[in-house]
Symmetry: C2
Subunit: 169 residues, 2 copies
DNA sequence: GATATTATGTCAGTGTTGTTGACACTCCAA
DNA sequence: TTGGAGTGTCAACAACACTGACATAATATC
């Protein structure tokens, strides 16, 4: 049963992948994601916030002055769900919402000083883990990691990801 | 400071990682995980089940005859939370719970035929995406992907992961 | 044999985060 | 000016996590 290499798919030799290999990939993803969120989760548990708040803070910090709709597309939740989170963040003075100058229907979101401070705390924790993992794995592994993750995204998510990647560089 | 000579984990030369690179890793992880769960989520949405059921089914299928406690450790949730899920799965005839022969306090969990069928459906969808991503990325990238994910896990999670990886060959 | 510990299950209550449905306001274009 | 698209809010509900308290049975320990 010599099937390690089959015909070419899009140039390179088609990988033969056993269900077992794929399964390990699935489980790796599951366990790693838990680690990935563990540190911020711990910090947020002490406050009245959760993972949804973290995500909102992250992407507002990443793209200041973003609109609610833009954030909605990135996060992939309903506007009602996001609104609950935004309401508390605004009420607590972490996020500022300004009515759009050009289009008054839009709300432009920005982190306040306090918001930036929390964002820093959260992403420091998350980056620390990411940095350790990247260093342990080495640069080639990191490149592969990113390549596979990008290939695993839905098309629209990949678009959001690339857009963010490019705007900040 | 010559640090080029060390073990594989303290590694080759210490990588210099900008916050921006780490942030991209974080966002890649976020978007990719969404894609990772999207297909099973869609299937489960039509039934009365959610992601929690999927996880339970996956790991029971992976390690048949596992105990509740073992499952608890793997999933990292409370017994109350797991119990709610298991109760419905058992009531619906997807999972069988047998009292332990040696230790009668234990319940050993196994998928029924119907359970295996659902497991197959769910993991077919998830594996299909994983396979496509792996093929697009190529074998080196896949190796790197796994290396980074393993490095990102918590220690106990890495232990669970390795145990599962080894038991199935 | 009495007592403690372990494994499991259950009830009740709570919080976060997702969902629909209904509705109001703003803008733009026909 | 009217209708539709875009945007945001309120209310109600479901899934799934949590804690705490308690029950039961089996096992381990003294």
């Amino acid at each position: 049963m010599d099937r390690r290499t089959s015909g070419p798919s899009s140039g390179a030799a088609l990988l033969f992948l056993t269900d077992e290999q794929l399964r390990q990939g699935i489980e790796a993803m599951f366990f790693a994601y838990r680690g990935f969120t563990a540190d911020p989760d711990r910090i947020l548990a002490d406050m009245a916030y959760g993972r949804a708040h973290h995500r909102a803070i992250h992407f507002i910090g990443r793209a200041p002055d973003t609109t609610v709709n833009n954030l909605l597309n990135i996060l992939g939740v309903t506007k009602q769900s996001l609104n609950r989170v935004l309401r508390t963040l605004i009420a607590d003075g972490l996020v500022e919402s300004k009515v759009g100058r050009k289009d008054k229907r839009e709300r432009h979101l920005t982190l306040t000083q306090a918001g930036r401070a929390l964002e820093q705390t959260l992403s420091d924790a998350q980056r620390a883990r990411m940095r350790t993992a990247f260093r342990e794995a080495g640069p080639d592994a990191v490149a592969g990691f990113r390549t596979v993750l990008e290939a695993m995204m839905d098309t629209e998510m990949r678009a959001s990801y690339s857009r963010l990647k490019d705007t900040t560089t």
